[in-house]
């Protein structure tokens, strides 16, 4: 099972980090091998199912599909770390160790069906990230971002814990299968609603959803580029998974919950898109775009139907690929680990046509332009919401898509139409990176035109969630 594999890998990395002399190339290859081997392990265990630890931990198609996505995301982020200039060399193995433990914790999170398991897994993944953010060479903003991330994150965890306590006080169990039976009847009590909402606050924090989104721009800007890539992609996928699982606890008739989520989704999308327009720093722009996309995913989740959940799962995978492509371009252009300003993208189409094209396809995918996979994801999510009658919500979401197109096009314009002040050298890409870029671009376009296979996976996962 993938969790055991990553646990073993984390242990090995821990031992290696204490014993070996730092050597960037060798550390990178160790981590790459670990991550690459994890993906087939995750894929091989897709069909497993069962429960462990007195039903506190469930392995079903929903969790296994997400574990494959998480393993893939981890591998992609490690492949970004060829020249880990942003992190001091003696910290490299600890960097990889923290990434591994965070991935392990996220895999535990998507399999948790009990409040305590969720809490422990969430805390483990969060602490690994709190430690990863300040691990950056030469930037004071990194330490400040780490402090802010930690303080906001632990406050959100404490709020979530109080929510769990209120829930437990009303429903005398912490296990999801039993909560499903008791909660729809007991949701009328104010304590249950308060408890559920407070509990969701912790997940909203991880997903960077309004009103717990304010850590995202600062943390993305302060952290090393690869860490920002990890937080933006893999961490969000795990948050979507657990949010889907918790919201699906309501059964199909959580009307009040859906209304609250509608309000949060609208606020998140609008705020994320409007604030991104004025950003000059690429990572901050991507952070606000993350906030907006959290709103889009929430539209799929709040439709409280199997189609909605499938749409959210598909969207999370599509989002992972698209965001990762943007971060790949960012890491390659800012090869010394610095913060990339949008103006620094000028002339990218001459410096590296492949990077510019990948950036364009990735950003168009995030905007939701056909035939990319981002369009398919949005289509699924919006149709699921329309089926439940949230017409105004979808209308506002479409307006937001248009607004988001503006700032994505700003970046594409910088890459293609602006000229740099002085002549910048061509960016040479190694063969694996070129291959990866081509694969990503092809996947983004092909999965947009022929999404059947991924759609089946997402549907199966959603069915396992609703039926189980």
């Amino acid at each position: 099972m993938p969790e055991l594999y990553y646990l073993g890998a984390a242990g090995i990395l821990l031992l290696l980090s204490m014993v070996l002399q730092p050597n960037a190339r060798r550390d990178f290859f160790i981590a790459l091998f670990v991550a690459a081997f994890g993906v087939p392990v995750a894929v091989a265990s897709v069909k497993l199912s069962g429960t462990l630890f007195a039903e506190a931990y469930r392995v079903d198609l929903f969790s296994q599909v997400f574990k494959v996505i998480l393993a893939g995301g981890f591998f992609l982020v490690v492949s970004l770390c060829t020249e880990l200039e942003g992190v001091e060399e003696r910290h490299h193995l600890e960097f990889y160790l923290l990434l591994t433990t965070s991935t392990l914790a996220m895999m535990l999170l998507v399999s948790s069906v009990e409040l305590l398991t969720i809490f422990v897994a969430l805390e483990l993944s969060s602490y690994s990230l709190y430690l990863l953010v300040p691990l950056r060479r030469g930037y004071d903003t990194a330490v400040e971002a780490g402090i802010k991330y930690l303080l906001v994150g632990t406050s959100a965890s404490a709020v979530m814990l109080f929510g769990f306590a209120c829930l437990y006080g009303v429903i005398r169990t912490t296990r999801f299968p039993e909560i499903i039976q008791v909660l729809p009847a007991g949701i009328g009590q104010p304590l249950a609603t308060i408890g559920l909402f407070l509990a969701l606050c912790g997940f909203f924090f991880k997903l960077a959803l309004f009103p717990f989104h304010f850590w995202a721009p600062g943390v993305y800007q302060g952290a090393a580029n690869q860490v920002a890539a990890y937080i933006a992609t893999t961490s969000k996928v795990a948050a979507i998974a657990i949010l889907t699982r918790v919201v699906s606890l309501c059964g199909g008739n959580g009307e009040y919950m859906a209304k609250v989520l509608v309000a949060l989704s609208i606020a998140s999308m609008t705020l994320g898109n409007l604030a991104a327009i004025r950003q000059r720093d690429m990572k901050r722009l991507l952070a606000y775009s993350t906030i907006a996309h959290a709103g889009y995913v929430l539209i799929g989740i709040l439709s409280l139907s199997q189609g909605g959940y499938a749409g959210a799962i598909f969207y999370s995978l599509a989002y992972l690929i698209m965001k990762f492509t943007c971060f790949l371009v960012l890491v390659k252009v800012a090869y010394d680990g610095s913060d990339l300003q949008i103006a620094q993208l000028a002339g990218l189409h001459r410096r590296s046509p492949l990077l510019a094209m990948a950036l364009m396809v990735g950003l168009f995918g995030l905007a939701g332009i056909p035939p990319t996979v981002g369009f398919t994801g949005k289509l699924l999510v919006f149709t699921a919401a329309m089926e439940r009658g949230h017409f105004a919500l979808v209308l506002i979401a479409m307006i937001n898509v248009v607004i988001s197109l503006y700032y994505y096009l700003l970046v594409v314009r910088a890459a293609y139409l602006l000229e740099p002040d002085e002549d910048l050298p061509r960016i040479l890409l190694s063969v694996p990176v070129t291959l990866l870029l081509w694969v990503l671009v092809l996947v983004m376009v092909a999965a947009g035109i022929f999404p059947t296979y991924l759609l089946q996976a997402a549907d199966g996962a959603a069915r396992a969630l609703v039926g189980g």
């Binding site: 305590l116 602490y127 430690l131 814990l161 306590a165 437990y168 912490t174």
Partner: protein, 101 residues
């Protein structure tokens, strides 16, 4: 039941509110972390109250886990604060304004 559930929940809620005030009224990084600790302990009290109400042990187990995790979180938080203090020389919250909130 010796103490009514509502009373203990009110205590936990008051303690939680105090923790929130301590966190939000930021003057000092260590105080913010203390506020988080108070919030975590308030949640712990709420869990014990719920466990007593339903006469089940899951709440008590939860509190044990909360205490262990709070200890881990404090260690991570203080390590970060010490690093920040060594870099900038102060734990005053106002000095950390490089990043726009």
């Amino acid at each position: 039941m010796i103490v009514p559930y509502g009373h203990v929940l009110m205590l936990a809620g008051t303690l939680f509110a105090l923790g929130v005030v301590c966190t939000v009224a930021r003057r000092n990084l260590v105080m913010i972390l203390l506020g988080v600790e108070i919030m975590l302990n308030a949640a712990g009290i709420a869990f014990v109250a719920a466990a007593l109400r339903w006469q089940r042990l899951e709440g008590q187990a939860f509190v044990l886990f909360i205490m262990a995790i709070a200890a881990a979180e404090v260690s991570v938080g203080l390590a970060l604060i010490i690093r920040a203090y060594r870099r900038t020389g102060s734990v005053d919250e106002d000095t950390y304004d490089l990043l726009k909130w």
